[in-house]
């Protein structure tokens, strides 16, 4: 299936997004009262990626804030009192889910605002509806008893730009639930963003097309969605358990794999310790390429589209240089 088809024919998005005819009705009803309380809408997202997508959807209708600071390791994040203050009075809360931002549950239950807690009008678990990879089983989280117990899976799904359609769908639905009078604006924003993203995706896929099935080693298992979208083969990862340094036997095995399969590139994230990757690179002649796992991880990744501009261009450059 071509990239264009994928975005044009969004089974999923259609299933979870309010049918357009009905929306048109809602829009007509609310067009009369066009000075809206939506100006006071405040969206809080846990990560920079979701915040960037939320910004694309709500445009100037709302202020969008992020909890995890840019360039921090999101998987090692611990919330501060100011984060509670930030969540207070938010109209919409957008989270990654799948246990990635588990600390949000505690903050939300401390606030006790039903509208932004699980099941509330302003609560968005962006993972709902995503075709998840590497599913491990059900969540056993006791807070998760609304029958929505979706699997625990690899949580880095925003790294497939095609998933932006589903993510923005969820955000748009919540935005319209909270501020129905802004529906037309929200839908228009989302449509134009997705149209631009669709064009971008074609370009990104073209850039990486010559490197189809390229073999890579990654430091952390961050890239399965990215690999699926751009048809890359991530042969192995260096760090199997978060925060535990790889053993020397594992490094020796990886060095052998890199040589046998002629792997030229090791994908690394800016906030992970670099030693193991550099050591492997020195031993095997592969190069370490720093890709941004999130918006803000590197200065160039200023928003969702820039994130892929940066990652795709950096990776394509490294793979071209390596194949020469």
């Amino acid at each position: 299936m071509l990239a264009g088809d994928r975005l044009r024919n969004p089974d999923v998005a259609r299933a979870r997004f309010v049918p357009r005819a009905a929306l048109a009705g809602i829009v007509a009803t609310f067009l009369v009262s066009s000075v809206s309380p939506a100006q006071n809408m405040r969206v809080v997202a846990t990560t920079g990626d979701l915040a960037s997508l939320a910004r694309a959807v709500v445009g100037d209708l709302a202020q969008v804030e992020t909890i995890i600071p840019p360039a921090a390791d999101p998987e090692a994040f611990e919330p501060r009192p100011s984060d509670l203050a930030r969540l207070k009075g938010a109209s919409v809360v957008v989270r990654v889910g799948l246990g990635y931002d588990h600390w949000l549950d505690k903050l939300l239950s401390m606030l006790g605002d039903a509208a932004i807690n699980r099941g509330g009008a302003g609560y968005v678990d962006a993972s709902v509806g995503i075709p998840l990879l590497e599913v491990k089983g059900s969540s056993v989280d006791p807070a998760n008893r609304d029958g929505h117990a979706h699997g625990l899976a690899n949580p880095h799904y925003w790294l497939d730009p095609a998933n932006a359609e589903i993510i923005t769908g969820g955000i748009a639905e919540a935005g319209i639930r909270v501020a129905p009078e802004a529906a037309a604006k929200i839908i228009a924003n989302r449509d134009s963003f997705l149209a631009r993203l669709k064009a971008d995706l074609v370009e990104w896929e073209q850039l990486l097309a010559p490197h189809r099935a390229a073999r890579l080693i990654a430091y952390h298992n961050t890239w399965p969605y990215f690999a699926r979208r751009f048809r890359l083969n991530i042969v192995d990862v260096i760090e199997i358990k978060e925060g535990v340094a790889p053993s020397p036997a594992r490094l020796a095995k990886l060095a052998a794999t890199i040589r046998e399969q002629k792997i030229r590139v090791i994908v690394h994230e800016p906030f992970e310790p670099e030693e193991a990757s550099q050591l492997l690179a020195r031993r095997t002649g592969a190069v370490v390429v720093k890709l941004a796992p999130s918006v803000g991880s590197v200065p160039a990744a200023t928003d969702f589209r820039a994130l892929f501009d940066y990652n795709v261009a950096t990776l394509a450059r490294a793979l071209s240089a390596a194949s020469n």
């Binding site: 360039a71 189809r212 083969n233 193991a276 050591l279 031993r283």
Partner: protein
């Protein structure tokens, strides 16, 4: 592969031996001064300096980065020197502890202002001795040789300052030598912690010095024994981490502890004076036997009391004796147990097969559609749940087996263990 193993092991081992060389000397002085945790405090203060440098926009390895680290280390050394003056009524260790926690907390606060420092702090704790480079090693050798030479020349006043920790009332007389000691200690610890991490450096510092002190009160002899012990522990740790396929730093810390245990045993049972030796041997046998018998007795009693609980010692005995938990089940229970185990294995295999299929499709052949991906995901989830169900069945049947086992195994085990323990205790009392 073998070449890689050698290449991955040779440099870290060389680095570990170099670290042992300088740290054993400092460790002996630290033991004399009774300031065991001074290295943690100094390392943390220098880590704070490095973190401040990172936040101020300098690389840790740049000249500015070193300057920040050194200035903070010097301040730490001054504070430690001054702490001897405070420590008249209270032990100096208390001040060192406060310095450590304050420096750690300050590092967290500084990192919190700038997330880029987090990686640095993570590295400080865990270290990366595995990835030490030849250039770094040469730098260490040069730096430590210079400091070692200075200490050799100044050994008399330095040791005098260390030996007069408790008796001295004339603080000013030793303050200068204390400062020299802490400054050079700070420089050493700062550079070694950046490579080996806080935990491992603590081992390099204290364990060989302890082993040396066990065998000799002469500092030169203790130093040589410490070097041998440290080198042996480093080699065991690095090769052990290959064999066990486990992180090097953590394995090396464990082997250092093991070397300390072995050295303690040698000291008590082999090299001690003859009379003391035979008493130690007898005492060791009594205590060891008592602990073992009590463990066996308690484990047996625990099976009788709570057959459904966790039984690590019993499981160990079962594994060692080749007895499965199915031994005490009825034939039909055993059949169910084995079937559940087989089904669970099959589910696991199926989950892996699905995972491989999805993984291959990322780059090979036709891309899977989102719905196909969802189907695979929900199948994996279902199979995981079903596997959990089989495990529940197995746990239930194992508990049924244990409920019978408690009379056949638990009761005799408890009886044997407790009777043997009582016998040993009576003998030990008579021997005294």
């Amino acid at each position: 592969m073998f070449e890689d193993v050698l290449a991955f092991a040779a440099l870290p081992l060389a680095a570990a031996i170099v670290f042992t060389g300088i740290h054993t000397w400092f460790g002996l002085q630290v033991l004399r001064r009774n300031v065991v945790f001074a290295d943690l405090a100094l390392a943390q203060v220098s880590a704070l300096g490095a973190t401040v440098a990172v936040v101020a926009g300098h690389a840790v390895q740049s000249a500015a980065g070193y300057a920040y680290t050194l200035i903070f280390t010097a301040v730490g050394a001054l504070l430690l020197t001054a702490s001897r003056g405070f420590a008249r009524s209270v032990r100096q260790e208390a001040f060192i502890g406060v310095l450590y926690v304050v420096a750690t907390a300050a590092t967290v606060l500084v990192v919190d202002r700038s997330p880029q420092g987090a990686e640095h702090v993570k590295k400080m704790l865990v270290g990366g001795i595995l990835s030490v480079t030849a250039d770094e090693l040469v730098k260490f050798i040069i730096l430590y040789s210079i400091i070692g030479a200075i200490h050799w020349l100044l050994r008399r006043p330095l040791l005098a300052a260390a030996d007069h920790m408790e008796t001295s009332t004339d603080i000013g007389k030793f303050a200068f030598w204390d400062l020299v000691f802490y400054l050079s200690f700070g420089v050493v610890v700062t550079s070694s912690v950046a490579t080996a991490g806080v935990l491992l450096v603590f081992c390099f510092l204290i364990v060989p010095a302890l082993v040396g002190s066990l065998f000799s009160s002469h500092i030169g002899v203790a130093l040589v024994i410490g070097w041998i012990a440290g080198a042996a522990a480093s080699a065991a740790g690095i090769f052990g981490s290959f064999l066990l396929d486990a992180p090097t730093g953590a394995v090396t810390v464990v082997t250092f502890a093991a070397v300390l245990l072995v050295a303690g045993a040698i000291r008590a049972f082999i090299t001690a004076p003859a009379a003391e030796r035979s008493r130690n041997r007898q005492r060791g046998l009594h205590v060891g036997g008592l602990v073992l018998c009590l463990l066996i007795g308690l484990s047996g009693a625990w099976v009788v009391v709570a057959p459904a609980g966790d039984h690590p010692i019993l499981a160990m005995i079962e594994t060692a004796a080749g007895l499965g938990p199915d031994r005490f089940m009825s034939p039909s229970e055993r059949a169910d147990y084995l079937e559940a185990a087989a089904i669970e294995r099959r589910h696991k295999g199926e989950i892996d097969r699905l995972y491989d299929r999805e993984r291959q499709s990322r780059w090979q052949g036709d891309e899977l559609t989102p719905d196909e991906i969802r189907r695979i995901g929900s199948m994996q989830q279902t199979l995981t749940e079903m596997g959990r169900g089989e495990r529940f069945v197995m746990d239930y049947l194992r508990t049924r087996g244990r409920e019978r086992e408690r009379w056949y195994v638990g009761l005799p085990l408890a009886a044997i263990g407790f009777i043997a323990a009582a016998t040993i205790a009576r003998r030990a009392r008579r021997a005294r």
